[in-house]
Amino acid sequence: MTEIVSLEELAARIPSGAKLALPADYAGVAMAATWPLIASGARGLHIVCVPTGGLQIDLLIGAGRVQVLETSAVTLGEAGGAPAFVRAVCEGGLELLDATCPAILSGLAAAQKGVPFMPMRGLIGSDLLRVRPDWRVTENPFEPGDEIVAIPAIRPDIALFHAAEADRDGNVWIGRRRELALMAYASATSFVTVERIRDASLLDDEVTAAGVLPALYVGAIAHAPNGAWPYGLWGEYPTDAAEIARYAEMARSEASFSAYLQRFTGTAAFA
């Protein structure tokens, strides 16, 4: 059964050490849940970026919440590199699982299918393969000598994302952002923040049903209007590029990063 809870309660259900799947900038980032998550004090998170990360990841890293980071990239887009990420990498403060987008998506697809791995073309000859001993070069059983990489299933504890709408049964409208469904299938449960909660079931109409992630996969929902801000939400509102640029500027030093965070979390130092 999906529970409808407050943002704080939703964040409080993410324990230290959780393996957390988080979407890319354009896909519905649960920014409003980021502040209470940081305030809750959960540490040692294992973050899986699906398949890249931005502001949310950089905040969690800067606040010292991340132990393991699996990602294909971390960037603030137009605003440049992600300062806390770059700093943590240089200082060796992160267990880094560098990936490539389709490998993360393949690992999640393996979890979706309930199989231990998915084969994937590419990768051979790259240093990604060298630094990821958890990826294996294997032989195509249908063609001797044909080498292909096996990507192990990625099974996060929780997928956390933001979407436009949910109904009271816990169904979530994700539209064509189906990587959110992929994250949810692969994860033990999903926590979703939404712009609106509507009374009528999203499954009652075949047109809206086509864009629904069923409640079956959703553990908790929190109402969070404008909840992707400063990121935008497709079909709802654009990205606040000025705010992201402001963050990029402030995150360049640890002191001003802390000041930025404090504004949203109400508490002092985090690093």
Binding site: C90, G125, L182
Partner: protein, 246 residues
């Protein structure tokens, strides 16, 4: 007509490199490749040929995908994408690219964002165009510090895709797959081969028919300044604006 700017020439060169392509995908922050693809489409339309399909990641109007992030990669692996663009913090003479960082991994300095989709796309898209405006020994190195994706693979690896050309503000190279090296085919007007050698960290061959990178035709230039700039404005409003001022 005002002569072509450097960026307009890059756009026209990209359009030439896309001749015969049916479906080209363009990354989210790649206005010059996107403009080149739009010019290709405009030229083909004028000639009555089937228009190239353009998928621009992050664009609403040019997003034909409905299956989330996976669809670009699935589509490429299915062989439905003929051309794609990649860059790199470092690109070396074997066509290896580095999007991760300089120095010893994992404590790279500088650290760049990461490999994005290169680990698959470089291997399965037949015509990958390496595009980087900066042409310097810092970017074009003898050997990359980290291989995000390899320029060539041993025969045991099924690889329909790989590097096709390398385009910078200074030069155009094609990639020789058999010999795993770049071949200089064009130099930007006002520059010469010696300068290309000085500013390139890796060795390369020189094509027999080496010449200056051609100026855009008046037809192409007119299309860039009218139709292409209008189409660009939806996805790259700032870029479309600065293009007007050149």
């Amino acid at each position: 007509m005002r002569p072509a700017s450097d960026r307009e020439r890059l756009i026209a060169t990209v359009a030439e490199l896309l001749a015969g392509v049916h479906h080209v995908a363009v990354g989210a922050s790649s206005p010059i490749p996107a403009a080149g693809a739009m010019l290709r489409r405009a030229v083909d339309a004028k000639r009555g040929e089937a228009p190239v399909r353009i998928s621009i990641l992050g664009s609403a109007r040019h997003n034909f995908f409905t299956n989330g992030s996976s669809e670009l990669f699935d589509c490429a692996a299915q062989g439905r994408i003929d051309a794609f663009f990649l860059g790199g913090g470092q690109i070396d003479g074997q066509g290896d690219i580095n999007l991760v960082g300089a120095g010893d991994y994992p404590r790279s300095a500088p650290r760049w964002p990461g490999s994005f989709g290169s680990g698959l796309l470089y291997y399965v898209v037949p015509r990958v165009i390496l595009f980087r405006e900066e042409h310097s020994p810092r970017v074009l190195v003898e050997k990359v510090d980290f291989i995000s994706a390899a320029g060539a693979s041993p025969p045991s690896v099924r690889r329909p895709g790989g590097p096709y050309a390398l385009l910078t503000s200074l030069a155009l190279f094609r990639f020789d797959k058999a010999r795993r090296c770049f071949v200089l085919t064009g130099v930007a007007p006002g520059h010469d081969t010696d300068e290309v050698r000085d500013r390139t960290g890796f060795g390369f061959d020189v094509a027999e028919d080496l010449g200056p990178i051609p100026e855009p035709s008046p037809e192409a230039l007119a299309l860039i300044r009218d139709r292409v700039r209008g189409e660009l404005a939806e996805t790259y409003p700032q870029f479309a604006e600065t293009l007007r001022d050149e």
